[in-house]
Structures are given as C-alpha cells and as structure tokens.
Amino acid sequence: MADQPWHRTAHWRQWLLAGLVIGQTLAGLWLLQQGLSSDASGWASTLLMLVFAILFLWIGLGFWTAVFGFFILRRGGDPWSLDRQCPAGDPAELPRTAVIMPICHEPVQRTLNNLAATYRELQQGGDLEAFDFFVLSDSVDPEVWLEEQAACADLCARLGGHQRLFYRRRRIRLNYKSGNIGDFLRRWGMSYKYLVVLDADSLLEASAIIRLVRLMEHRPRAGIIQTAPRLARAGTRFARLQQFANRCYGRLYSAGLAAIQLGDATYWGHNAILRTAPFMRHCGLRRLGGPGLFRGPVLSHDYIESGLMGRAGLEVWLEPSIGGSFEESPPTLEDDLIRDRRWCRGNLQHLWLLATLDGLRPVHRLALLTGILCYLASPLWLGFLGLSGYLGLHSDAPPPTVPGLVASSAGFSGTNHFLMAFTATLLLGPRILALIDQVLAGRTPRFGGATRLLASAGGETLMALILAPVRMVVHSIHVVRALLNMRTPWQGQNRTGDSRSGAQWQPFIWPMTTAGVILALIHWQTPELTPWALPVTVPVLATPLLARWLAEPTSNRRCWLVPEQRVSAPVLARADAGLALGQLWPDLSRFEQRVLAPPSSDRTVRSQQRVQGRKQERLTRLVERCAQAGSGALSDEEITLLCENPESLRALHYRVWQADPDTPWGQVLARLEKTLEWRPGLAGIREEELEHRWIEAAS
C-alpha cells in the first residue's frame, strides 16, 4: 500500500503507545523484583516475572488505549477520522447496497423486527431504492426455519418488500457464518457495490447506513468501515451491567482504538460496511489445515478478514463517531460465557493463521494477538496466582493477606504498596477517566445525574471485580478445552434470557469444582494461606447464586441507567413495537401449518425443483408415512426434505385434507377448526402464507 497521509500519524501514535506500555511494564517488573523476597529465586520467580510481564503488558494496553481515547475526545474528536474528513449531506445517488443478516436458530420475531425497524427507517427517509435486504439462514430445526420463512413472508407483505426483502436458507452449511456470507456473495454479491452486515441482534439507524455508504464513496481505498455498536435493550441485571459499562466506558476505548489504528482497524463481524468486490476477491477463508484445533473452518472470521483486506492494500476504519449503531448483550452470565467458549476457540485458531499467513500488516497481527490474549490472559493469571502462592510458601516471609502479588513478597513493603497502587490504576484508571470524560462532556444528565452515574459505576465495578475470578476460571477451562480440541457446539445464541432458569448450576460445575479443589488443597497444605485464596475462590463457588441474581429481569430505572433508557432512539422504539410476524395458528406446529396451508400453484417453481429416481421414491414414502401417522412420524431431517420439495408437500397437503376425524391429521384439523373459531382474526392467511412462492424461489 502506498503511504497515505494518515500512516505517519498512525505510526507516531503506535510508537508512543508501545513506548508507554513497555515503559510501564518495565517499571512494574522492577517493582515486583524489589518486592520479591531474597530467597525467592530460581525457576519459579523467573516464570513469575515472565507471566507478570505479559499480564502487565496486557492490562497496560487497555489502560493506555483508554488514555488515548480520553485525550482524543477532550480534543473534540480525531481530525484523522473518516467521519471528520468526509462532508455530510452529499446529495449524490446512493450505489446498490445489500443489507444482509446471517441468522442461525435465533429468536425469529425479535430478529426480524430488528431488520424491519431498519427497513422502515430507510423507507421513511426515501432512501430505500438503493438497498436490498437478505435474511441468510443457517437454521436446521424445521420448526425454526419454517417460522423464519413464514415471518419473512409476513414481513415482506407488511412492508411491501417484494423484490427487496429476500430470505435464503442454505441446505449445505459450510464454514459457519463466513460460509453463509460467502454463499450469498457467490450468488448475488456481484450485484452490489457494498454490503452492510448485521448480526441477529443488530440495529442500525438509516442515518448510520447512509453515512457508511457515503464514507465508502468518499474514500475509495476503504475496504471496511466498522461502527462501534452500543449495547441496547437490556432486560436482565447482567445485560444492564454490560450495557452500562459499554455506554459509560466504551466510548473511551473505541475512540482510543480508532485513533491508534486509523486505517488499519479491525472488523468486528457486524454493524459494518464492506466493499463487495475486494472482499470477494481477497477475503475468502480456507479451512485450516493444521493439527487438532487448527483444522477445519475458521470460527472467528472477522479479524482475519480485516487482516486480508489490509494485506490486499485496502484500509479498514473504525468510526465510533457514527451513532445509531446498536447491538444487544447476552442476557445472562451463562450465555456470555457460552459465547466466550466459541470466541475463545476462534481466537486461539488465529495462532495458526498468525504463523502461516504472510503479508499481514503489523497492526493486524497485533490485533490478532490481543484477541488471543483476551483468553490466554485467564490461564496466565491463574498461573500467576499459583506461582505467587508457591513462592509465598517457600519463603521465610509472613503469610500474605491479599491474593496475587504480595503472596510472594517478603512482606508488605513500600514497593508492594506502590505496585498494588500501580496495578489498581491500570485496572481502574479507564473507568475513572471515562467518568471524568462524561462529566467534562456534560453527559451526566443522560445517565441520571452525576450521583447516579457515580453510584452506577461503583456498583458495576464491584460486580466486575466479583465476576473477574469467575471469568478467569471459566476462560481457563475454555482454553484447555480448545487446546484439547474438544467439540464446541455451534448454535443460536440465547438473546432473550428465556429458558435458562432451570439450568443455572450445570455450566458452572467445572469452575466450581476447580475452585473448590484449589481451596481445599490450600487449606490442607497451608491453612495460613486460606484467607489469601478466599477472594478468588468464593465468587467462583457462589457463581450459581450470582448467575441467578444477574439473570433476573429488572426494570429498575435508578441504577445503571443509559441515555437510550431516557430517550429511546427511534429505531429501538420501532423494533420494540414490532409485530407478531407469521403467527397463524399457535396450536399447530409450523410443519402442520405449512402442510395445511394451500400450496403455491406456480408451476414454474415446482417444475424447477422436480426430483426423480431414488429421491422421488423416498419422498413418496415420506408423504405416505406422514399422511398415515402424522407429523410426529417424521424426523427433523425428513420434515426438512419434504418442505424443500413443493411437489411432495403439495401431495401431502391433498392427502391430509382427506383425513378421517380419528386419524392424526384429522385431529390436527379439529385443532385447527377450534383455533379458527377462537381466533377468527387470524383466519385469513392469504397475505402471509401464499407468499411462499418467492421463498421457494429464493431457497
């Protein structure tokens, strides 16, 4: 890539950051060495120093990024950002852009109402002409994907979105989300200059989308522009905490990150715009060919894709100043940790790519490394605690009272005090800076006033401290699982907090056992170290109680208030007011509804999908079995096969409407009759269900 004017600024900022982080780490190492007792030498102290250096580098990187963000925001924003360089209000015609939403076993109504909110915003602003919307499903459960189809058809009818809103479900699911997007690109990518990628919980205001397109037009070198999504629509205590942290402190981190990376930023996988042609040309992801964990599809694709875009000579920008970009937090601690399990595995896979992929820009390599460290930091921290405990045991110093550093010290000396204060500053400094920034920016009223903001931040920090050991132990287990290449299921994320209440203990059994065993061993071997271990082990042992408390819904408007709770963004209000989509006869399964609804009469579609030979024989047998024994006689795979073949579905439709009252389908018809009697308003399915014609075509 030829040198751009921003390169010099970026290099200068990156060297400054490196200097600060390295300098701070060296200072920390010196303080630690001073604090170690004289008899603490040998392999354990050397290893301790090494682990400490990595961890101190790691937390220092976060701290100094926030400091950069603080100064950038205090200066009124970064003059180098694309948003500042591109004038607003460009009247030029918008180029063709696809808005895609890859989904896989997501809560259908919520997801599609999010998409509908964005669609309506664009429609209202008169900018819809340039955009097509695609729901790209990887769902396997027929009850889910049939609901997706029905809801999409309903949405299409309600929005008047024919030839603008499309649904596609892959029959062969290769390479997870990146494979889903790749499949879309191979079919329709050439038709669009840009691609706006949404997650199932994403919400983008029309103004944000238009701004992204305009920035892309203004900056032809930009391959990806990433927004910094704000967390919104939190319903549980856990999600409220995450949302508050994101809204209160997040702006510092994202401003700092954007300022340091400039055109070498990273893609976060959603709420971003991609330049389609170079993305197609350069960003395909091969299956990994290494051993164990490093074999198979790439799980975390986004960082790699931004690296590949950079390698191809294009820029990747993070633009936190673009508002109107939202996503949701996992509703519970359990869901958060499940998501982390997947992300952990995906990030650790990047080790292989770091080793094998040449030509990546240094900043992108560093981003991959920090992603890996996000998870490796946990076992390192655990190891650090273990080593400091070991050194504490083998020194003549009195038993320590605080976990971590002082366990290995020769006493609670001045240098120890200083090192503790230093560490606390690195850990808590960004929070304090963020609060100062909110006050100086006059934003405290949006958080319910200065007192409430301070109280919320205090509560959030306390909870973060309590949860830190839980995350440490769970992430360590995730890392071990990933390195041992133990299977990680790829399934839809729980985004609503439903259906988890009964299983609070299960995911925490291993972390609790680990903490319990550690505590028991310490107490057995050296009872005087027990108080030192309690602050780390007790939160882990109490995780189920914590998780249950955090999973409870809360409508408390006094604590952890964020600006959107005071004045909701229109797009959020639209999504919240979403309608029940594709809801026909609730007492019938989706498959039963599909069979009973009149099939498409369009012969062109049916003839395109005509099957012969063994497959036809199998389908005929399935129709016969289903007609005789009801929908329960078919497996999910068989139901899927039937629903994907309009002729067979049509044959089954005709058969079931002949069913005698005492047969399984006769009973379904009786239930249908009751439903229609009780819910006469839902009897008219013409608009909703007969839309399947276009779904069949796109599927």
Partner: protein
C-alpha cells in the same frame, strides 16, 4: 343440503384457511356446487374436495407471483498461506 355435512364443513374450513371469504354468499355458492354435483351423479368426496374447491373458487390465483433476486454468479478468492 345438510350444512352439518362433514365434507361441507371441511370445505368451509379450507376456504377459511386459504383466506377466502366464508360469508353467506360463499356458503350459498358452495351449497349450490355441492347440490349440482350430487344432481349430476358425481357427488363430492374427500378425494375430490380440494381439486373441486380450487376449480370453483379463486384460491390459487390469489398467490403473488414473486421471484427471487436475479442470480449473478461470482467467485470468492482465497488467499494463499
């Protein structure tokens, strides 16, 4: 005709499911069709009900004729290691 006839009831249910109007006029038309078939010696049976309903009523034509987006095949490039 006997309006409690199960086939007649099922025909009404089908029309309702198809989003067709099931008011007095439709019921009258349906009864006339049933009566005519009986008079012609080809009474409506479970097997012939649906084809005949599609013949008598404008059910299929209510379907929107939409097509998916035009396929424009492209390829994805995979970078070397």
């Amino acid at each position: 005709m006997d309006v409690t006839d199960p086939l007649y009831q099922r025909a009404l249910l089908y029309l309702q499911v198809a989003g067709h109007d099931t008011g007095a006029q439709t019921r009258l038309r349906l009864q006339e069709h049933f009566n005519r078939c009986r008079a012609d010696g080809r009474p409506v049976t479970a097997a012939t009900l649906l084809p005949r309903l599609h013949q008598w009523f404008d059910i299929a034509d209510q379907c929107h004729t939409l097509s998916g987006p035009r396929l424009v095949r492209g390829s994805v490039g995979y970078p070397g290691g």
